[in-house]
Amino acid sequence: MDPVISVRDLWKVFGPSAARVAASDELKALSRQELMDRTGAVAAVRGVDFDVAPGEMFVVMGLSGSGKSTLVRCLTRLVEPTTGTITFEGENILEADAKRLRDLRRNKFSMVFQHFGLLPHRTVADNVGYGLEIRGVPRAKRGERSQEVIDLVGLTGYEKSFPDQLSGGMQQRVGLARALAGDPDVLFFDEPFSALDPLIRRDMQSEVIRLHREVGKTMVFITHDLSEALKLGDRILIMRDGKVVQVGTGDELVGAPADDYVRDFVRDVPRSNVLTLKWIMRPPRPDDDLDGPELAPETVVREAVRSVLSAGRPVKVVRDGELLGVVADEEILGVVAGEA
């Protein structure tokens, strides 16, 4: 399947000499600090490549200053990228003129912001309908569609409230509804839950997972929170100093960290929740008893604990009838004990 979004060699350099930096391979090779010292320019995004598949929940994770917020703004050109290509459904959106870009924003993407960005002088319903209003959708139709998404995000009954009468979590539901109202192909989330309390954050994460399942949209989600990334992401991109460190599924990051930075990052992750059997299985030894139960390699360790420990002999990891390896008590205990 063709990717929805395909990003190649994307650079965003801030500062007076941005164009010069982007044109020079020598300057591009410098580290962020060296570049800052030499030219006064700040490279926020440095040569980023990735693809997002249709319907995927793609998470970009990094600490503050890693360039992740700039990256997501580059994707919709809220921040103008310095060089590179961003292909969206086969079209290089860096070549889109202002009108085309507006069309794309009106119909194809929408974004949910960390600080909500609601209009304080409008009711919930009018906030949700804002995107439709600027497209020129007639009032009656707008109201209908707003009501649909308000119901979808669980805000029924609050249509006439003003944003400052709602809690943070509710306000972000309005932001979510506003983004959904235009029926976009892709939703971008810029750290949407960072400003919320932990309990509400968990609710909202479940809400997004539910919506992702129900509406099946492609989503690009920015976060600084690894557990949020692991919980939501089909695939996760880890950024550091504007560069991509690693792209992969959660178990790939935990099982095969690309470098010490990622290893350090995932150290405190409860591995049994993330790792699957394929990461801990070993080749069968001659003395192994091979008539034990079978499990798929994608089985998460935690779910395999009970069956492996109660089997009393190694469990076979099998895909399509082919024996990939075995998992016995010591492998399982190695993971579980390693967390303690």
């Binding site: 909500f116 960005g117 804002y130 600027i134």
Partner: protein, 646 residues
């Protein structure tokens, strides 16, 4: 915000040395003053003119002669004048002056009161509407209906033009950084320039009358509208704008649907500021023959008729309060009126307007209970009583300030040889602000000499300094009190707010009553005019001192006095210098008004220039001298502030 870095010993020693040098300069000045008193003072008699003044008179005559032949006038200034005159005359025809062949204005008093009430009801609620109706009826009862309506017409005309120019410019400055950078210094200049000095040059181009008055008002009233609109647009949170952009809004859509609605409340506050500034300026523009209440006050002041001045001053206050309350309430979030009330109100208003158009009783304010003359008589009686029975109090205070402060300072400044004063000024500037300040001051001194009004400038400078000292004393005492006590703040702040809303003229009246016409009266009026700003700045500065520091000081066993002197005032020194700077500028802007009540010197020169043709050039030069003094003092205090706070 205040950096609490411990001062190292090096700068402290430097400061100590500077104080010594400063003291040396003063001592040397005193000695030389005794030796060279009253020589080379560049004095100029009241009716004497310099070649420059005569040259300006000639230019004025030449401009007057070519007004209807020179293309610049024919196609530019005269056109502007005509358009503005037409507009003002139209508004006056509606509510103030007999018009369209009728013996009365189109809308009589009943109609105006009804419109005022209805508009207030619609934007500000029924309480304010009641206040507006009562206020307007009161104006009629004072016997000042037509004057009030003239003032109101001129104010409204100037406000409409100010907003037509100011809000678009403000939006532009809000959206574009370049426009913002371009406009800020221009606005700074417009607002630091004492208000009266551009009256004279304006009459050169637009003649005496409504057009000049309106344009002067415009210059004074448009900056707040521009500034506040720009500020309001700029304060809309970035993420709200970004959210709108991310949904594909065009620039116009973002402006109309996001920026302007979010900024609405603040912009209405800007409108309030513009209206108050316009009202203040319209009354002052009476000096160049603008019709209305201001003219009544000026005439009464010139004949020292306190009763009449008080009555008209009171009308200005009433008008100011009504306009302020209505626009302030409009800025606050409120639920709209129910539909029936709006329609009902509109109906009643229409009927009233029709009645006032048709029937004489509703058109001309004729009342059997005329209270204007009672107010007039009452004020006169109180004045006479005060002057007769409180001479110890009023006279004592007046004599003390006059002999202890004004006279010595004036003698020192105005009776020293000019080069001595110039040298001292430049030397002090160098000490305070370095080479740059010294150069600016030297240039200003040279300009003052060039105006031919050196001695008058020095007399005005002496009064200004005395007034500023008094402002600072008041500012520190009241400001510290307000800064330390929430309760004092709650009680005093509204009074200060109200005082700031009042047009400058009004202050003169009660002090004229108490102290009769003299330099002292003008100084006290200036102090009262400038004190609210200084007090507020200092109070806010004191309040901004971190409570933790104050608490620490208290925990160490400081008395209140020690805490104030050793902690709060030093930490609020940024506010103190700002207060001094603002105090100076406010005082200076009252100099011309003070000229009406015996302040003499530059203020008198300006006022006389308005009324006597042969003194026109001198008046204009005096205006320039006031500006030069203002620029010099402003630069100097700002340089001092920079040095002192860093």
């Amino acid at each position: 915000m205040v950096a609490v870095a411990a001062p190292t010993s090096q700068p402290r020693a430097l400061q100590h040395r500077k104080s010594l040098v400063l003291a040396g300069i003063v001592v040397a000045w005193l000695v030389l003053w005794v030796l060279f008193r009253n020589v080379w003072t560049l004095s100029l008699g009241a009716a004497d003119l310099t070649p420059l003044h005569r040259w300006i008179n000639d230019v004025n005559d030449a401009v007057g002669a070519s007004r209807n032949s020179n293309p610049v006038f024919l196609y530019f200034f005269n056109e502007i004048r005509l358009v503005i005159d037409e507009f003002v005359t139209f508004v006056q025809a509606l509510i103030a002056q007999p018009s369209f062949g009728r013996p009365v204005p189109v809308i009589g008093w009943l109609g105006v009161v009804a419109i005022a009430g209805f508009v207030s009801l619609a934007v500000a609620g029924w309480r304010v509407a009641l206040l507006a109706v009562a206020g307007f009826v009161f104006l009629g009862l004072q016997g000042l209906w037509q004057e009030s309506m003239d003032t109101l017409s001129l104010t409204l005309a100037a406000v409409v033009i100010s907003l037509l120019i100011g809000i678009p410019l403000g939006i532009w400055a809000g959206l574009s950084d370049r426009a913002h950078r371009l406009l800020t210094p221009v606005l700074d200049f417009m607002q630091t320039m004492p208000t009266f000095v551009y009256l004279a040059p304006l009459t050169l181009f637009f003649l005496i009358g409504p057009a000049s008055a309106t344009i002067a008002t415009l210059i004074y009233a448009a900056p707040p509208a521009i500034r506040i609109t720009a500020h309001a647009i700029r304060s809309v949170p970035r993420n709200t704008v970004e959210a709108s952009e991310s949904l594909g809004a065009t620039r116009n859509q973002t402006l109309v649907k996001v920026l302007l609605p979010s900024a609405r409340k603040t912009i209405v506050l800007g409108v309030n500021q513009t209206i108050m500034a316009a009202l203040a300026m319209v009354t002052i523009a009476a000096l160049i023959d603008a019709p209305g209440l201001g003219k009544t006050v000026v005439k009464a002041l010139q004949t020292l008729d306190v009763g009449t001045a008080f009555n008209a001053g009171l009308a200005i206050v009433v008008l100011a309060i009504v306009l302020d309350r209505v626009t302030t309430a409009a800025a606050n979030e409120r639920r709209g009126l129910p539909r029936w009330a709006l329609f009902g109100g509109a109906g009643v208003t229409a009927v009233c307007v029709y009645l006032s158009y048709t029937y004489l009783w509703a058109a001309e304010f004729q009342s059997d209970v005329e209270i204007g003359s009672s107010i007039n008589k009452g004020a006169t009686a109180v004045t006479e009583w005060a002057q007769d029975s409180l001479p110890v109090l009023t006279g004592g205070f007046k004599d003390f300030v006059t002999f202890a402060l004004i006279n010595p300072l004036q003698a020192l400044l105005a009776e020293s040889p000019w080069f001595l004063v110039a040298l001292v000024v430049v030397a002090v500037s160098f000490l305070v602000g370095g080479v740059r300040s010294a150069v600016v001051s030297a240039a200003c001194v040279a300009l003052l000499i060039a105006t031919g009004l050196w001695q008058d400038s020095m007399i005005t400078l002496a009064s200004t300094l005395v007034a500023t000292i008094l402002v600072m004393v008041l500012g520190v005492v009241v400001g510290v009190w307000m800064g330390r006590s929430r309760r004092a703040d709650r009680v005093i702040r509204p009074v200060l707010d109200a005082a700031q809303v009042m047009p400058a003229f009004v202050y003169l009246v009660p002090f004229l009553a108490l102290f009769s016409a003299s330099r002292f009266t003008a100084i006290i009026a200036a102090v009262v005019f400038a004190a609210p700003v200084a007090i507020k700045i200092i109070a806010d500065g004191i309040r901004a001192v971190s409570p933790a520091t104050v608490e620490a000081s208290t925990a160490l066993g400081s008395s209140s006095w020690q805490t104030i002197v050793k902690v709060q005032l030093p930490m609020a020194r940024g506010a103190l210098t700002l207060a001094a700077n603002q105090g100076l500028i406010y005082v200076l802007s009252m100099v011309v008004v003070g000229g009406l009540v015996g302040a003499g010197a530059l203020g008198y020169d300006v006022v006389a220039g308005f009324s006597q043709g042969q003194l026109y050039g001198k008046g204009l030069a005096a205006g320039v001298a006031i500006v030069v003094l203002g620029v010099m003092l402003d630069r100097l205090t700002q340089a001092a502030a920079k040095r002192w706070t860093n």
